[in-house]
Amino acid sequence: MSTGTSAVGRRRFITFLVAAPTLTIAARLGIDVTADAPAMAAGRPTTTSSEPTTEADLGTTYVLRVTSDNRIIFESPKADVGQGISTALAMLIAEDLDARLTDVHSELADADNLPGQSVGGSRSIRDAYDPVREMAAQARARLVTAAARRWGVAADTLTTRDTAVHAPDGRSETYGALAADAASVTSPDVATTPKPISEHTIIGTPASQQEGRAIVTGAMRFSLDVAVDGALPTVVARPPTIYGTVESVDASDTEAMSGVVAVTTIPTGVAVTARTFHEAQRGREALRVTWGPGPVDDVSDSTVNERLAQAIPPFADPPLLSDHVDGRFEFAFVNHAPMETNAATADVRPNSAVVWSSTKVPNGTRRQVAEAIGLPEDAVTVHVTRGGGSFGRRLSSEAQIEAALVSQALGRPVKVMWTRDDDTQHGRMRPASMHRMRITYLAGEMVSFENLSSAVQLDFGLSPVIIGIDPGALGYPSIGSAFFALTQHTPYALGTETKELNEVPFEFPTATWRSVYSGHNRAAEELMMDRLASKLGKDPLGLRIALANDQPAKALLRRLRSESAWGTALPAGWAQGIGYHEEYDGRAGCVVTIDATDPAAPRVTSALVAADMGIPVNPMGLEAQFMGSVMDGIASILRAGNHIDSGSVRESSFADFLWPRQRHAPTNFRLVLMPTTGTSIAGAGEIAIPAAAAAVASAYGRATGTQPWRFPLNF
């Protein structure tokens, strides 16, 4: 039964009471609840950039249940891989339900039938903010009504707090004790609208991650920690070059080894299943496989760079008497490298299959697994576990498919783990890219900004960010170029803008890397602002303030200037650097200080992020996201990247893929949140990365008197 529909901005949803023995409310987002569905599927501009339509328009279901033992169970369709989504969603519920935060428990939902059950594009909290609070308000109204009827008093005399309903005479009843009665309240006697921001006590107040205790005690279960009876460790021997093929296998030595149970050839390589991962790896080493070539065997970094350069057209002829500043920037491939490698457990039976794994696209994973093993989708169950990081990695399902194929072949459950070298050499990467930029000005006025970029083709896979993008209809040659055009927004008034991304169709295993194109392209644009400032003899932060498109941007940049003590004298070899970015309905700026006295071993010593998040839900979680984003900026600008040698990734582990350690991290990090606007809510996961990457490169350039252009710098 429908309890109401609402439209919040462009996102519509419906909340409804679910027939159940205990109070259960669901909320559903999607085009199926709107009248103007076709228009929405085409994508609409939002406040700061024109983002493609995504999951919100295609359906996501949230379910909230009040149990008799006074717990609020929230089935979250949003995979938590460390972004803090579960805690933020629990906060939304606790706020409008008047429940103690500790009584709200988020559980990761299994794969459902709605394509919108996915995490990406920094959309989760933006999409959930209204429907989830309304669900909670709907539940609260029913609990109050049930108490009023039980006590024979007027519902509007009752109050709620601490997961209980209270009467003026001192009587109280827990939600748990009212949940069965409340389940049959079809029309509540009190309002079901969420609280105004001025009454928020939980939203906006720092809260630590709910899973903290499980993590610090080692109790948290990640993909391979789930105990599935009899599931055998399995690793896959992979080709020496990317996407190489298996031609023949001699497994005789392997099969004779102690602990080895089976050897199975699958499309991606040769799987060795054993009693332990140690024995599986030893068995893998003993295989004799003849490998066929892959599609990029003759491709190395030099080939990639040549093709990227060829794909960039020349600049337009500059107008007479104008002056310009040019830049060329190159970014290497960079692996996602989540701490937990690609991993999954699967139990495939003749007519059904169960998969346990972390995935940000549970039903995409389910569909791909079903296809791979030839079962109907509804015969496959995907249990979503917590994931050890993603950064875009868990938008593809290779390990889940491999586990299902091997389990099917062996007729028993298996757990597939990608070793770190597998994940580094055959896992996904941010595509290598090249950017040529020119800012043209005449008599002190900005005339034009040209940004002509190229990148290795990006495999968006199951990523929700491209749902609804039809590149052909929009006039772009590829999804990547369309996505680039829709998302890459320059926050400065630079005159006429020309921006294009030309994709080069190399078959590398790529995937959207946290912030997709913004992490490199927008960082490069910010470096152009530094170059422009230097050419004009202006301060880079002052010039940004002068050229920023709108007042909120100027306000944030000014705040950054004052909070960072911008321009303070520093020792030789030290400098501050600045970056600014707008996306995901928010704004973020970053100032870092770098010690580059040894240019080969620079260290960012402190970092300040200022962000305009609209309505911040969990400042503690935001700080964590921005701290991580600063580290991603440090990594991708200074240290971490991948080389390609004749179709192979040169790096193989954290020994040579130089992800920052503690000694590369700032000792001082600070977040400043701009005052709540109370009107919109911004996505936090990716917004600070372009700003941080730019700030690090900017600081390095200013400290060393160079113009950095090829990243990572020490590579």
């Binding site: 891989v81 140690h278 990081g389």
Partner: protein
Amino acid sequence: MPTYKLFVNGEHVSVDAPADMPLLWVLRDLLGITGPKYGCGIGACRACTSHLNGKEIQPCVVPIADCANKHITTIEGLADGETLHPVQQAWLEEDVPQCGFCQPGQIMATAALLKTNKNPSDADIDAIANVCRCGTYCRIRKAIKKAAQA
């Protein structure tokens, strides 16, 4: 296949394993102790960090043969029942974890460090080489200092 006796988190266990099997797989695959994480298998990421006779080790590169009759503590054995170890407590208070995958190793490395260095300097903390892909380093630093004061 030889049999080894170990004391894991205060309990006697015995396992049949080849002498060269890294302790990590003995713990995870034979004993079902999944707190120590696999992140690289070559001693580079330190996600597996645990203690052998009270000292920090990376179980992915320590063969079981070197652990016979010794005391092994994993993240599961660090707390005293329901009472968290001061390092775990500091980690919670600073809300250190993001995904959490590296944190058992970070906590065990810190617990080992604080046994021999009651008041680690910034340089001592910089020497901790555990990778955190999520980038929680600033909170780790704060939590280490807090735990040192506890």
